[in-house]
């Protein structure tokens, strides 16, 4: 007597505790093993690229905050870089150093969130997440001191930054940077040798080198598969060529390697901030730029190394006050093209861990 089995369709719908935001996946399951997955997104589409054509260049900075709302500073930096390339504007030195400090703090905060939520998805009932949030709270206090907001900063302007740092910023930053490595070490002790975390994350969701390059993955996903590619070293922008830091890579490309790469990148960011704090000169913080900017006709593509991958802005100008076309290269969406290959043949419990390790933000996927 042969056994007849059937596959069934399970809908991990837009409202689910584990998908980071409104993201829907339709699994085709055979028992507990996934045969096929169909991601459906677009629930958070706000039309940012079309809205940006109705506003001037300096008003568009407000919209770029809301793309990847967990890493707003780096979004601002990428857009401002693209506009400065288009219009040929020079940025003073002090502004560049301030931008680097803010961007590296943002990278630490975003990686803290990513690692904390990955562990929450595996099942550690909120405890590591709340430890991460305590450290992220200190970063948000620093941002609050400089620009007045905690989530959507609107800090960088075309030609510099908007405000200078107050005097109590530097001692507070120094205290935070000195206390952070001890906390990361304690966090590693919680999870480094924990057998359950190792069993759940090793050899799960392996992305080989060729696949990673073929899917044009970027950021920690690419580096965990063993490829040493970081835009801060390969195509340096701002003043990154003056700092000494390394690029951590993984070996196999599984979930454990992506988690390790993010923790090591936090250490490298701490090193960059320390060097920037020593080298920062005095000076002005914004070059004089007319209120309504009219760059020459042309196009430009500005890209940076964001916490989730390569974030790029493509601008086309026709000589007017508004951009003719603004297009965003979202790292989350392009990293997600590898999802189908990674998820076929694993069990449901692993699917959530893999999805959490790619680290997406739905505001960027849908724009």
């Amino acid at each position: 007597m042969t056994l007849r089995t059937e596959t069934f369709i399970l809908n991990a719908g837009p409202q689910h505790p584990s998908t980071h935001g409104v993201f829907r996946m339709r699994f085709t399951l055979d028992g507990e093993v996934i045969q096929d997955v169909e991601p459906v997104f677009g629930y958070l589409h706000r039309g940012i690229e079309k809205l940006a054509e109705g506003l001037t260049y300096s008003q568009d900075i407000v919209f770029t905050d809301r793309l990847d709302y967990l890493a707003s500073m780096t979004n601002n930096q990428a857009y401002v870089l693209a506009v400065e390339k288009l219009a040929g504007i020079q940025v003073p030195e002090r502004a560049e150093y301030l931008r680097v400090i803010m961007a590296e703090l943002m990278r630490i905060s975003s990686h803290l969130m990513a690692v904390g939520f990955l562990l929450n998805d595996i099942g550690a009932f909120l405890t590591p997440l709340l430890y991460m949030y305590r450290e992220r709270e200190k970063i948000l206090d620093l941002y609050d001191m400089v620009c007045g907001q905690r989530l959507t900063y609107n800090y960088m302007r075309i030609g510099g930054v908007s405000q200078d740092i107050p005097e109590e910023f530097v001692p507070a930053l120094k205290r935070f940077i000195d206390s952070l490595p001890r906390f990361i070490k304690e966090y590693e002790q919680l999870l480094e040798t924990n057998e359950i975390v190792l069993i759940r994350t090793k050899n799960v969701g392996t992305l080989s080198k060729e696949s990673a390059i073929n899917y044009s993955a970027a950021g920690p996903v690419l580096r965990a598969s063993g490829i040493k590619w970081d835009i801060r070293k390969a195509d340096p922008y701002s003043v990154y060529s003056r700092f000494k830091f390394e690029i951590p890579t993984g070996i196999k490309g599984d979930v454990y390697d992506r988690y390790r790469v993010r923790i090591e990148e936090m250490h490298q960011s701490i090193a960059i901030i320390k060097q920037a704090m020593e080298q920062i000169p005095q000076g002005e913080i914004q070059t004089k730029v007319s209120r309504v900017l009219k760059p020459a006709k042309g196009e430009a593509y500005g890209r940076i190394e964001g916490p989730k991958g390569e974030l790029g802005f493509y601008l086309v100008s026709d000589g007017g006050t508004n951009p003719y076309r603004l297009h965003v290269r979202p790292p989350s969406l392009i990293n997600l093209t590898a999802l189908r290959e990674l998820l076929i043949g694993v069990k449901i419990a692993d699917a959530m861990a893999i999805f959490g390790s790619i680290d997406i933000c739905v505001g960027e996927v849908d724009r």
Binding site: L55, S58, Q59, V62, F63, T127, Y131, R134, E137, K138, D141, D144, M145, V146, C147, G148, Q149, T152, N154, S162, Q163, P166, E168, A172, R175, F176, S179, E186, Q189, L190, L191, E192, T193, N194, E195, I196, L198, R291
Partner: protein
Amino acid sequence: MKLKNYGEGIVKGMAVTMKNALRRPITTQYPEQKLNVSRRTRGNQLVWNKEACIACSMCARACPVNCITMVTSRDENKKLKVDKMDYDAGVCIFCGLCVEACPQKCLFLSTDYEKARYSRKDLQLTKEDILMTEKSKPSGYYSPEHEAKLPIQTLLIDRK
């Protein structure tokens, strides 16, 4: 490092959790205790200094979401004056571009954050609601003289 999977990692993890359990909790009992907000905070309402305003409408032009509606006219001395200034606090995204755009520095954001209302109509304010009085609390965003008067922000890294 050879993996010893007889449970040593689990015990070390539990030691970390116990060490954290013996720290002081970091919650603030709102509304009995309130923390000091930042001196440059972008709070929930505009504050308008009517005497210094020259009715140039730069704030309305700088706003990305068009939440300020200004109607101006010339009076008998051929100077501009403001007839109607409607500010919709429900649409405003508190970006501060209007504060930055004002040439006379007569527009500020406030340090108040408890501005919830029960209906959407209560959030559409006219120019009388946002006038600067002694009770309004302007914040120090883009105005150093107000920033110097506010108390210092409480930081989490100071509380241990």
